[in-house]
Symmetry: C2
Subunit: 1000 residues, 2 copies
Amino acid sequence: MPDPKYVYRFPEGDKDQKDLLGGKGANLAEMTNLGLPVPPGFTITTEACNDYIRAGNSLPGGLLDQVRSALRQVEEETGKGFGDANNPLLVSVRSGAKFSMPGMMDTILDLGLNDETFNGLIAKTGDPRFGYDSLRRFIMMFGDVVLGIDRGKFDAIFDEAKEKAGVDSDADVPADALRDVVARSRALVKAETGSEFPDEPVQQLELAIRAVFDSWNNERAVHYRRIEKIPDDLGTAVSVQTMVFGNMGEDSGSGVAFTRDPVTGEPEIWGEYLMNAQGEDVVAGTRTPLPIATLKEENEALYDEFAAIALKLDQHYRDAMDIEFTIEQGQLYMLQCRVGKRTTRSAVTIAVDLVHEGVITKEEAILRVAPSRLDELLHPQLDPRIKTVSLTEIGAQAAKAAQGKAEMIFALSQAGVDRLRKTGALPSTALLSFSGETAIGTLRIAEWNTMKDVDQAAILEEARFLEMASGLAASPGAAAGSAVFDPDTAAKLGHEGRDVILVRQETSPDDIHGMQAARGVLTQRGGMSSHAALVARGFGIPCVSGCEAIDIDEGAHTMSVGGLTLGEDQIITIDGSTGTVLLGLIPSVEAELFPKLTEFLSWADDVRRLAVRTNADTPQDAAKAVEFGAEGIGLCRTEHMFFQKERLPVVQEMILAAAEAKALEAEVMAVESEKAGAEGGQRRALEERLSDLRGQLEGPMGKYRGSLERLLPMQQGDFEGIFRVMGERPVTIRLIDPPMHEFLPDYAELLESVTRQRATAPQSPELVEMERMLHQVEMLRETNPMLGLRGCRLGILYPEVNEMQVRAIFRAAAIVAKDGVDVHPEIMVPLVGFESELKQLRGLLERVADETMREAGVEVPYMFGTMIELPRAALTAGEIAAQAEFFSFGTNDLTQTTLGLSRDDAEASFLTHYLDKGILSDNPFETIDQAGVGVLVQRAVAAGREARPDIKLGICGEHGGDPRSVEFFHNAGLDYVSCSPFRVPIARLAAAHAALAGGA
Amino acid sequence: MPDPKYVYRFPEGDKDQKDLLGGKGANLAEMTNLGLPVPPGFTITTEACNDYIRAGNSLPGGLLDQVRSALRQVEEETGKGFGDANNPLLVSVRSGAKFSMPGMMDTILDLGLNDETFNGLIAKTGDPRFGYDSLRRFIMMFGDVVLGIDRGKFDAIFDEAKEKAGVDSDADVPADALRDVVARSRALVKAETGSEFPDEPVQQLELAIRAVFDSWNNERAVHYRRIEKIPDDLGTAVSVQTMVFGNMGEDSGSGVAFTRDPVTGEPEIWGEYLMNAQGEDVVAGTRTPLPIATLKEENEALYDEFAAIALKLDQHYRDAMDIEFTIEQGQLYMLQCRVGKRTTRSAVTIAVDLVHEGVITKEEAILRVAPSRLDELLHPQLDPRIKTVSLTEIGAQAAKAAQGKAEMIFALSQAGVDRLRKTGALPSTALLSFSGETAIGTLRIAEWNTMKDVDQAAILEEARFLEMASGLAASPGAAAGSAVFDPDTAAKLGHEGRDVILVRQETSPDDIHGMQAARGVLTQRGGMSSHAALVARGFGIPCVSGCEAIDIDEGAHTMSVGGLTLGEDQIITIDGSTGTVLLGLIPSVEAELFPKLTEFLSWADDVRRLAVRTNADTPQDAAKAVEFGAEGIGLCRTEHMFFQKERLPVVQEMILAAAEAKALEAEVMAVESEKAGAEGGQRRALEERLSDLRGQLEGPMGKYRGSLERLLPMQQGDFEGIFRVMGERPVTIRLIDPPMHEFLPDYAELLESVTRQRATAPQSPELVEMERMLHQVEMLRETNPMLGLRGCRLGILYPEVNEMQVRAIFRAAAIVAKDGVDVHPEIMVPLVGFESELKQLRGLLERVADETMREAGVEVPYMFGTMIELPRAALTAGEIAAQAEFFSFGTNDLTQTTLGLSRDDAEASFLTHYLDKGILSDNPFETIDQAGVGVLVQRAVAAGREARPDIKLGICGEHGGDPRSVEFFHNAGLDYVSCSPFRVPIARLAAAHAALAGGA
């Protein structure tokens, strides 16, 4: 059997061979075949890499022969010789996997250089200094990345030479000093490896190829693949290409360009270049590159040639391309092209433009933008230009200097301060305190906002903002404000118009009013689906949760991190898109639904089958969601309305009275049941007991009913507001769901207060009231509240609460309907496990609905349905459908019960470990677990439709905003998904993707 | 269409027509056709009753005609006339449903009596007093049950007459006083109903029939049907039968008999009779009936006739029969027969005897005993003869007198005291304190035990033991002992040989040592599956849980109920079979596996397919289970071994060190991951941090490993003991399951202590240690521990614990194997949700197992498997089977997760309400929920078997001891069920029933 074909010359490949040739190799082949000026070369396949790894890092037989043969062809094409001292062929060696991957060995330039070919190089440029510098760099680069010698040791040699020569800048080192560096570098290689530096070009090439292959499995590459879920068995290709030199004088240069603007998407070439420079100089930032427009001024013909190539690539690839080019002595060469990375805004704009240009179809355009990327657009973001440094990295001393500073705070190097002072970008008001090499600068935001763009850019170039810690990116967007450690202060300051960040160990429903008034939320504990995360996502405010590195002391109103203790005046910034927490105020940029995005999403709407609704509990959220394209409310949580500060006392009074009344009612029931089996004297005794109990019942029952009557108009007002915003769109209202004790004070806090009071002021009159509350909380407390008295179970035990809610809904609906709005309320019962539960509540609540509408004299069309959020409900969906006109899958709870995972507990303890160790590939609270939860959904859909063909099926868990889950729901045949307002555009696009993927 | 046949004369029916004729009617028909002396009569069908109810309580057309026609036939047969003044036919009218049902109108005697027929009656007996008395009784009975007049009003008339006549006893009231009573009773009827008493016999009969029909839906009957799950649409039949009189002089009499002993099952006629008495006199206890043997002495011919009939019925029905008979002037009549109610012991004995007698087959015998009834036999029981009175009923005064009394305590009426004093049964030492009409007697148990049987019987006849309250019958059997309110004291006293009852608000794993040493457990809170209930059932000790009426103050070491407060010296008795809690020591009787039961169960073993294992954690429990027939251990919970008093400190040290170590390890992992993506200075900083962290890790890691090493020999010893007891039987050992914090002190208690200490002694040195523990408990605390870090999640995060356990198992197995025992350990991983979890642990643990066996030089055959206790595990059982050689369904947790019900929380709050209101028909923690949990089990069985045909399938939840669930598991195709030792015989029988029911 002949050896496999391991080597493809550029003309032998094409752009669709990324699997085999890597992205780089495939595109070099494509450009070559397009007739573009590509320096000749060849690509070693990924198969060669895999065979190498499989053979225990041994080059496969025949590979080197094929390489040599390909080299000979390149020699022929270029007229140069590999190792030829007179006209040397030098090559670059680059890795190139199917997916671009940081961490792998990237590039070795000038390979083929040695003392002999060095002469040929000098002959071409006439500049021996350039020659020695190239050789020095090559030995260092090769020594570092191929031979694995600590780069610091080469740097030390060079630094010594600079010192000896008495120069500061690399460019000023004279040629013979460089020759000395070359000699000493060779000696270093000998000392470190025990062998001479490999001067033989073919040997150099072989070693470089091995190094690229080896780098596939180095630590960073493996780490990156794990994070990006890239399979380990793809392997990397190696592209070997004739060197061209952008640094061969002033008629040479290098640049990178993008066929359209990668930030805005505007259809004009964007790029930067430097004359007399290699590619890495453009990227490294040691010299400031020129905008591509300058090239047009400097050399119009060359620019036109380049622009024509750019246009050709843009059209050929039917997408905006990222290009690397070099000009060697006036001759243009293309070194690389690939589909360009771009901001989401740019991606949308480019996709829409390409449709308008007739290049791609709307469907293609839709598929060009990953739904999850839209998230970026919908929240304020940190200015993308900012750079950060960690508190620990700048050192305790400098960090202390930053502590307590208000508004913008940043670190600068001495050199940076000098540069900024020179340009005058840094205003004299910018307070600078020094600590060793590091300066801490601060600016007031008002000052910043009035600065010239160029000065802002200069400062952003030098400034390093201070990163305190990282937590979970729990709700996207950036926010800055004063740290506030309790919800009451947050609410107060927030209502005064101050920007605050609510900082808590973890949040609970008691914190809602503080969260509502805050710009963002930071918690020390809790995962991606903790209370803080869920509520913040619902409100559309940024949240960083589970930031364990910060120690939050709520009692002392401080947070500590890295030796700093920060109090309530401290301004901090959180970036909920990355999980970063920063010191001071960091500039951010606002987002909006721009016209091309609106157009883009309207195309998505045309192809999707799934409707998209929103989870919204207030008219404000509902309005926001409608703006983002929501077609209805899929989940309106009525209990959030209870948490409002002025209502909570009424709710608490209601609960305490209800609990008392229900305990007595249970006793009445027990005695009645005993009475039924009793006779004579015992029966009479029981009758007396009954009448006694009924007397006792009156007090609490009256209080209970009274507080419900006070809550009724409040809820009614809430619903009225929501109905007015939503108009004809359906509004699914979930009846009260959480356990009663969520509305009462926290047990541990209360116990602590009571115990302290008992120990220090046992006679105090308030102790009695506190103890009564403690007792009640104790009674209502549950071991596993998630699996306790909540949802429809509450409705069955406390039907009066549900009745009040239904009355409020229909009174509100009637009022809005009388104004001519065609309202569509949908009453949703949570946590049903048994058909009998729903049947009981349906009978009760439909009677209340009918009564209320009769009183109001208006007939409002409505639906009655249930959540499917327990495995049993999913398994018996056929029976439950007899009582439900719609199902809404509550996939949050369904995931918790199906997987036996308490969201908060799991994310705080083992879920992270599971994800790290690959026991789980996805967080099941973010992306639906198809094999478990998904099977239940499919089963329930089938059974529900069989029992009631016109049943309406939706999902209102967090998964409704997750693209992969949306695809699953599309395929499962649901009618709609519902998600938080800020995820509505994502869901619209994801639904379109799912439809285009050709599912059901 | 002709009217349906509503009336069947006795010769027209047979015993299989219970649906139509009721039990009574069908058996009267059968006896008539057997040629036995049955007074003629007829039965009105249940269909007539249902038509009556459907028609809105209106007698169906044609019914009365059919009744009249049947009456005419009876008149012909008896030669008497209905309403004939000279030779009157009097009848009894009785209800008779398919199932015997208390609460319905039972019997009206002497119907047909009025002023005219009265004369005919007198003529027969020559005794006008008897006639008036009969008439008085008839008017009163008819007025009460048919006309609905308060019986008290009739009693008042009679009492007045007695007073006027100056007599005490009913029998002494003279004839003319009775005549006066008759007249005043008639006047009462007129005054109450506005009409004359209906003297017309046919009208009387019609009204009586209506009254029987109406009583089908009276309160008590409906209540009873709900409890017994009897459908409401069965209806009742009405039997009308010629009266015969057992009170027509000394040659007349009445009696009840049982063809075999209803208590012991011995094959001899058991019965009681009274001469010159009606049937109700025998039952009422106003005169002491004679044993049936006396009849043989008094009238051998009659006895022989009776005995022949009894034998004939016994043989004909192939079962022990309960018979009512009357002798009228020397002539024997059979009034009723039915399959006799019997104790479980009697049921087993009779079934076995009938097989030996060749009357029934072994299979029939097996089906004759309901599996759940065996429970009675396996625990000590309260003496079945005892009678009780509630504390409230005897009044506060008397109750107070009982308080603080030791050993046996009972209430006696004044008359009772007199009677006992007369017979001398009550020893002079029996302390009597009077409170009004009630005396409180007390006896020492030693005294009681040396008393003559007849004296014991006399005392039990009069004494009323004091019932304090009722809770849930959580673990069967009776136990008496001193109330003890904390586990340490319970353990101490228990080990000293004292009988104690552990009384707690609710129990937790901390209480285990106290529960182990106690005779029984009483809790104020918690349901049938609370910790207390589960553990008590496991230990086989009685438990009453959720006894809310008793207020338990653990701090004060008291319990309060009905105005009494009882302290730690108080002896109480709990009956875990009924849920009753009694004051003082109540005599009980021991149970045993008697030879006929052993034989009976061996027949069950022959027919069943399901194997029966046991849940046992100690050699003692294992031995008990083997005695009861267990074929292996299906669940050995290793964590119970951790709770032992001397081990708990080691376990706690292990947890604290492990938590610290794991937190550091997580940090190491995070830093390593960061390092992989870092370069240069940052990378070096991270490397330093890593080495620092690794240094910090050594301390806690060493402590953690050290405590595991100390626990290893303890666990090894436990396993060795169990392997020795179980021999060749398989032993399934579940690796550690509960969350770590279960081994630490209770959070709320600790918080209270710390807060108190902080407030009162902030400088105390122990506060530091307490705060450290509090902090750790806080860290490990979870919102929903049921769904948190437990089961295999622990094993993955803390693999060292599982490794220690596996090492202990295989060291123990090796030692026992070396002694020639063919041990079969089965390693079981709990709470698996993902195949990947099991795969990871399997790799780890099988390596440890192999290593350990290699070290020991013994090869022990073992299996590796998992529990299926999460819906996801059931749904992905096919994948999980790749890693598991066996599945054991953990139906407790599977029920909790599938139904979203936390056992404790639900039973304490809404589950009772659900059961009361019929939203659920069964407690899903007692009987498996087939539509939900059952479907998951079936699915997992199918998928498991498909993936691995030889997979072993069992169930180890509480349902393994529930007969209906066992039937389900049989049909689902499981290989075995496993239950607590005391339920093993039940499971054996239930499995046999399931096999005979013809399932899979």
